[in-house]
Symmetry: C2
Subunit: 297 residues, 2 copies
C-alpha cells in the first residue's frame, strides 16, 4: 500500500470539505469567518479526521459517509486549540508555526471563533441526516459519542484538571486522568465515530475502541516527550512550554526515557487490537507508526 | 388561566431537570461542574425554555417532550452570558445581581465552563432519542435549528457584529443585523423547537416562527430601553453599560421614547400571529405581555 498517496488523497478530501463549509468572504460578519478559517485551514495534519475515515474503511465503510463527522471533529479540535492558546489559559504565541489566533484577531474574536467552530461542528453533524445510507438514529448516536468526548466529561474536563494540576507535584493517576480526557477522548471518539458510521459489529467496535484508547494515550505521551526535548520543529510550538508552565506530563512523572518506552508499549497495544483486521486496517496501523515516528525524527 | 401557577410549575420543571443533569459534586473535576452550576442554577427567568415548552403546548404537544431541548437552549444561553461577560468582551462584573462567573472562578475556568455548557447542550439533545414519541429524524432537525441559531450564522455572528459596531455611529440596519442574531435567533429557535417537537403543521410552524421573530426583537428593544434608563434592578446588570461601551442599540438609534413605541408595536405583531391558536397559546401571549411589562415596572 502506498501510504503517502492514500493519506494525501484523504487529507485533500478533508481540506476540500472544510473549505467548502466555510468559503471565504461569503457570509457576514467576515472577520468571524476569517478568524475561523485562519485556524481551521492551516495545513494541519488532520489526524483526528483521518482516524475517523480510516476507521470507517477498516470495517468496510466508505470515506464519504464519515467525512462530515470527521470534519466536525477537526472543528472541535481547532476550537480547543484556539481557546487553549488564550492569554487566560496557556498564553501561547505560536501554533503550527504561526501566530496564535488571538494574536492576529484579538482575544474577544478568538474566544468567539472558538465558540462558533464548536457550534458549527454540531450543525454539520446534524445535517448529515442527508448522507446516503446513514440512519438518523446512527447520526444521533455518533453526535452523542462526540459531544461526550468533547465536553465536561471529556476534553474540557481534562483541560480543567490540567490547569488545576499546575504547580502541584504531578503523579501518574493525575496525569492519566488529564490525558485520557484532554487528548485521548476526542481521538477515541474519532475512531469510534468512523466505525459506528460504517456499521461496525459490536466485536469490531470494541477492538477499535481499545485501539483508539491506546493510540490516544500514545499520542499524548509522544507529545510530552517531544515538548520535554524542546523540539519546536516537531510540535510547531515553542519548546519546553510544559516545563515552563509546570504541566502534569508523562515526561515529568516518568522521565523522558521511560515515557518514551511507555509510548512504544502503548503503540504495540494499539496495533495488537487490530491484528485481525487484515489489509483494510493498514492506514490505522500506519497512523500508529507515524505517531511513534515523531519521536525518532 | 392562572399564569403565575402555570409558569411556576414550568420553571420548577426546568430547574429540576437542569439540576438533575448536573448534580453537585458528582463528577470530577468538581470545580468545573461548580462553575457551570453557578451560572446555570441561579434563579434565571428561563424565558427561552419556557418558550420552547409553551410553543409545544400551543400546538397540543406535551411539556415533557420539549424539556431536554428547552434545557439545552438554556445551557447555550448561559454559556453565551458567561463568555459575553469576560474581560476581553463586555468585562461585566454583575449578572442577575451576582458577581460574574470569571470573577468567582477566574477567567480560564469561565471560558471552559462556557465551552462545557455549550457542548453539554448538544449531548443532552443527542440523548433525547430516548424520549417517547419523538423520532430521531425530528431530533436531528431540532438540533440543526438550534445549532444554526447559536453559531456563526446566529448568536455568535451577532456578538461579533456587535463588537465591531462599538465606537461606530450606529444605524438601524446595523442594529437589526446584530439583534436578529444576537438575541433574536435563539429565542426564535426556542419557539420553533417546541413547535417542531410537538409535530406542528407547516402553517402553524410558520405562524409560530413569525411570533418568535417579533418577540425576539421586542425582547431586545426592551432590554435596550431598560439599559438606557439604567435600571439595575430590572436587568440585574450595572445600568448604562451599553452607553458606556457605546453599543449599537435601538435606544441609541431611535431614542428611548421611539424605541419603546417600537417594542410595543413588535409585541402587537407577535400577538397577531397566534390569534388563531385559542386558549392553548395563552402562555405564549402572557410571555409577550410580561416582556413588555418590564418597561412599565
Amino acid at each position: 500500500m502506498n501510504f503517502r498517496a492514500y493519506f494525501d488523497r484523504r487529507v485533500r478530501m478533508i481540506d476540500e470539505a472544510l473549505e467548502s463549509y466555510f468559503p471565504e468572504e461569503r457570509h457576514q460578519p467576515y472577520s468571524l469567518f476569517r478568524s475561523m478559517r485562519y485556524s481551521l485551514l492551516n495545513g494541519g495534519k488532520r489526524i483526528r479526521p483521518l482516524l475517523a475515515i480510516a476507521s470507517a474503511e477498516a470495517v468496510g465503510g466508505r470515506a464519504e459517509a464519515a467525512l462530515p463527522f470527521a470534519c466536525a471533529i477537526e472543528l472541535i479540535h481547532t476550537y480547543s486549540l484556539i481557546h487553549d492558546d488564550l492569554p487566560a489559559m496557556d498564553n501561547d504565541r505560536l501554533r503550527r508555526g504561526k501566530p496564535t489566533n488571538h494574536l492576529v484577531f484579538g482575544e474577544a474574536q478568538a474566544i468567539l471563533a472558538g465558540d462558533a467552530l464548536l457550534t458549527e461542528a454540531f450543525r454539520l453533524m446534524s445535517q448529515a441526516r442527508k448522507v446516503r445510507g446513514i440512519t438518523p438514529k446512527r447520526v444521533l448516536m455518533v453526535i452523542n459519542v462526540i459531544a461526550e468526548a468533547a465536553g465536561a466529561y471529556g476534553m474540557v474536563g481534562g483541560q480543567v484538571a490540567d490547569m488545576e494540576a499546575e504547580g502541584q507535584t504531578p503523579n501518574l493517576p493525575m496525569v492519566e486522568f488529564i490525558h485520557v480526557r484532554k487528548t485521548g477522548a476526542l481521538i477515541l471518539a474519532a475512531v469510534r465515530s468512523g466505525a459506528m458510521l460504517a456499521g461496525a459489529r459490536p466485536s469490531a467496535l470494541r477492538c477499535l475502541s481499545r485501539y483508539g484508547e491506546y493510540l490516544g494515550l500514545a499520542f499524548q505521551v509522544v507529545d510530552d516527550v517531544l515538548d520535554a526535548q524542546g523540539a519546536v520543529e516537531q510540535t510547531g510550538k515553542e519548546g519546553g512550554g510544559d516545563v515552563r508552565n509546570r504541566k502534569a506530563t508523562y515526561a515529568a512523572v516518568l522521565g523522558p526515557a521511560v515515557a518514551k518506552q511507555r509510548a512504544l508499549a502503548l503503540a504495540e497495544d494499539a496495533l495488537e487490537q487490530i491484528k485481525g483486521f487484515g489489509k483494510r486496517a493498514e492506514p490505522l496501523r500506519e497512523i500508529v507508526r507515524s505517531v511513534i515516528g515523531r519521536m525518532e525524527a
